[in-house]
């Protein structure tokens, strides 16, 4: 088994979950690397959609912001943001939306707005950006974020992007909500009946005890929880040589 970082494991595990998916609404950083890795491995037909208004990007270098000029040159289509959000996202053309957050709860509700009180927060986070509408309109939501007992909490301070709430999703919602959470410790799914997060695989070397230590509620564990397959040599080569040669996001 080759050496790899926790960030590399997260990217690889995410990329594998994209097998068979078509249209991905991505941000910069790990989701972008995961999608580009998937395109070269598990999901060759995947198309990348960026909220800045770019469809079918073929970035010639690692994009450093969500609106990097390298996303534009050589892409298939650039639209204004209204059409991107209305005709692609709201229309229901997005298969997978990637989200992250400062806090997540057991139902996959995400907080990217504030820690503390909204009116005078302890920490003012960036806010929604497009996350709220992505959460509601993408067919599936994949969450990538680091896992600690401060980020996996019993009650989040603010619901920026709704997940499974406490069960059923309203009929106006287009998608299934969060289906996958990938952290540095493992891969999680959600119980179809209760909408509750469930540990499905542990990254190599991680224990269930570590997961519980880094979760603010008692994490459900799937019967038959398994070990995440470690990154292959080829996956690591693509990440290290092609997608993030300077290791900005994956070292």
């Amino acid at each position: 088994m080759p050496d790899f970082s926790a960030a590399e494991m997260m990217v690889v595990a995410s990329a594998r979950q994209l097998a068979g998916e078509r249209v991905c609404f991505v941000g910069v950083g790990p989701p972008n690397i995961a999608c580009n890795l998937a395109k070269r491995t598990s999901a060759p037909g995947i198309e990348l959609l960026y909220e800045a208004g770019v469809f079918g990007a073929e970035p010639a270098r690692l994009p450093l912001s969500i609106g990097d000029p390298t996303l534009v040159s050589g892409s298939l289509q650039v639209t204004n943001m209204y059409e991107l959000f209305a005709y692609f996202l709201e229309r229901g053309l997005v298969d997978v939306g990637f989200l992250g957050g400062a806090q997540i709860d057991r139902f996959g509700n995400l907080n990217t707005t504030v820690i503390g009180d909204y009116a005078k927060p302890t920490v003012r986070l960036p806010g929604s950006g497009g996350a709220c509408e992505i959460a509601i309109n993408a067919k599936k939501i994949f969450v990538i974020m680091p896992q600690t007992s401060r980020s996996f909490v019993d009650t989040i301070d603010f619901v920026t992007s709704p997940g499974h709430l406490g069960g059923e999703r309203p009929k106006e919602w287009q998608g299934a909500g969060p289906t996958v959470v990938v952290t540095g410790l493992g891969v999680y799914g959600f119980d179809g009946a209760t909408g509750e997060m469930t540990l499905e695989s542990l990254h190599p070397g991680v224990t269930i005890a570590q997961v519980q230590e880094n979760t603010g509620w008692e994490m459900k564990v799937a019967t038959g929880v398994r070990e995440t397959d470690p990154p292959t040599e080829e996956e690591l080569r693509i990440i290290r040589e092609e997608l993030d040669p300077e290791g900005v996001y994956t070292r």
Partner: protein
């Protein structure tokens, strides 16, 4: 939703046969510009029935199709032969139920455009500042007032329009259906995103690299396209900016033809049923006619997108 860009290029015959079913709601959009007559003719050739036809301006193409009996219903906002006069085949069915009634559903241009926008955005309604004190809402109960949640202002709502099939014509497209249009854009983008299935017809099939050299010019992404038909001059007698002019003589001739059901029937026999494909129609029209429709050149100043490697 089609699979990843493979095998979408089709003949008009196959595209119409596979993607349009009797009873479908069909939009052939294009406002005066890029009206895909060739698609309409193929629908007539194949004898499709009971279609609901949608277009802002039914134009000569829907007069031909309705005269040929493919449609049960018409959804529109302006019913005429632009710059010439009436659509007589449509009028006969509306005024005299001859040879049978035609159901109509009528809006204004902006109302129709916003119906496609709502359809393309999956919105249950779209608000517009029109229709106050017009008789249109009385004639069409789908046009209803809606109150602003912020105060006492009232605007009107139109419902989404989601065609089963939208057909758009583009100057150039790649094999996956990524289509670029310049000149009048009408509401093709909205009508395509609103549709369940999309047929892109193009003047020229180009390499993907041409599309990627100017991504701001792309109107329809291949993502939503089911078939790509390469059919030059498919818009005659309407025009394709930079490719051929509007054939005004045809629009004038059509007034005479469509006034008389027998002449219309004969025209369909000769020019639609009598031709096997649009290529034959184009040839039949003759080189001289095409030469008279050729525009001069007026090229856009290119722009530099920059290489960011």
């Amino acid at each position: 939703m089609p699979e990843t860009g493979t095998g979408k290029v089709a003949s008009m015959r196959d595209a119409v046969q596979e993607l349009i079913r009797d009873g479908d709601t069909v939009a052939i959009e294009g406002f005066t510009h890029l009206i895909c007559f060739a698609a309409g003719h193929e629908i007539i050739r194949q004898g499709k029935r009971d279609l609901t036809l949608c277009r802002l301006t039914p134009d000569v193409i829907y007069d031909q199709m309705i005269g040929a009996g493919v449609a049960r219903k018409l959804v529109f906002s302006w019913l005429g032969n632009p710059g010439v006069g009436s659509l007589h085949a449509v009028r006969r069915r509306v005024e005299r139920h001859d040879p049978e009634p035609l159901e109509i559903e009528e809006y204004s241009h902006f109302g129709m455009v916003c119906r496609y926008v709502a359809g393309a955005s999956k919105l249950p309604f779209f608000p517009i500042r029109s229709y106050y004190q017009s008789d249109l809402p009385a004639a069409n109960p789908k046009i209803v007032p809606v109150h602003s949640p912020y105060g006492d202002e009232t605007v009107y709502a139109v419902p989404p329009l989601n065609p089963d099939v939208t057909i758009v014509h583009a100057q150039r497209a790649d094999a996956k259906g990524d289509a670029q249009i310049w000149g009048l854009l009408g509401c093709q983008k909205e009508a395509a995103f609103a549709a369940e299935r999309v047929i892109v017809v193009c003047e020229e099939l180009v390499d993907e690299s041409v599309i990627r050299s100017d991504p701001n010019r792309t109107v329809i992404p291949g993502l939503i396209v089911d078939a790509v038909v390469v059919e030059p001059k498919a818009c005659h007698p309407s025009f394709a900016q930079g490719y051929y002019d509007r054939d005004n003589r045809f629009y004038i001739d059509w007034d005479r033809i469509s006034r008389d059901p027998d002449q219309l029937e004969n025209w369909l026999k000769e020019w639609v049923h009598g031709t096997d494909s649009h290529a034959e129609y184009v040839e039949k029209l003759g080189a001289e006619r095409w030469a008279s429709l050729a525009p001069g050149e007026a090229w856009s100043e290119p722009v530099n997108y920059g290489e960011y490697a």
